[in-house]
Symmetry: C2
């Protein structure tokens, strides 16, 4: 992954509204959620939501499919995995044993029970 690409992906997530949307979709899982449901769940205005969903989609962080009148959005796990990998690449000069982030995540999944 290129650094510009990674910065763009991070930029897409670096916004409280978009981060809320993204996490909602991550939690919704692969089946996704209709844009309108996201709007209702978050209280975000329809046009603002649409703009932000597009920004997330451009970064590959969400994907969409139409279902009747609704457009269903779901989290783009591949882009997420690439981003996390990029951030931790060559971490701690390749010595994983001194790498607190990876150790903590691997050990207990974090305080929120990530998995």
């Amino acid at each position: 992954m290129e650094i510009q690409n990674a910065a763009g992906t991070l930029s897409a997530l670096a916004h409280a509204g978009r981060l809320e949307i993204f996490r909602l979709l991550v939690q919704a899982g692969p089946q996704g959620m209709a844009a309108g449901d996201v709007a209702r769940a978050t209280g975000i205005l329809a046009n603002t939501l649409s703009t932000n969903l597009n920004i997330l989609a451009a970064a590959g962080l969400v994907t969409s499919r139409r279902e009747g009148r609704s457009i269903i959005y779901s989290a783009g796990y591949d882009a997420m995995r690439e981003l996390l990998t990029f951030l931790m690449e060559d971490c701690c000069a390749g010595r994983a044993e001194i790498c607190p982030p990876l150790a903590a995540i691997s050990r207990d999944g974090g305080e929120g029970r990530a998995c």
Copy 2:
């Protein structure tokens, strides 16, 4: 971690220059690097670098200590771990078997078990 906090941390990383700086420090490991060495390694202007190091420091992504005339910066692994944990919280609706992001990270991290 609060969502505003996480968005702020992501925002600090969502900039090609700062991301380059951060990764350089991640790779340098806990011993860190002097600001001047970072400037030389990246070609970033001293004042711009200083501003961006301050932004990263405000997010907890780097820490600093003075050593003679130099100021040594190192990656803030705790903030990084918290951010990664937050991003993956409740990932994939609790179904680890469909959680590529964490599996990939755990694999690269060596002995950590997948999810």
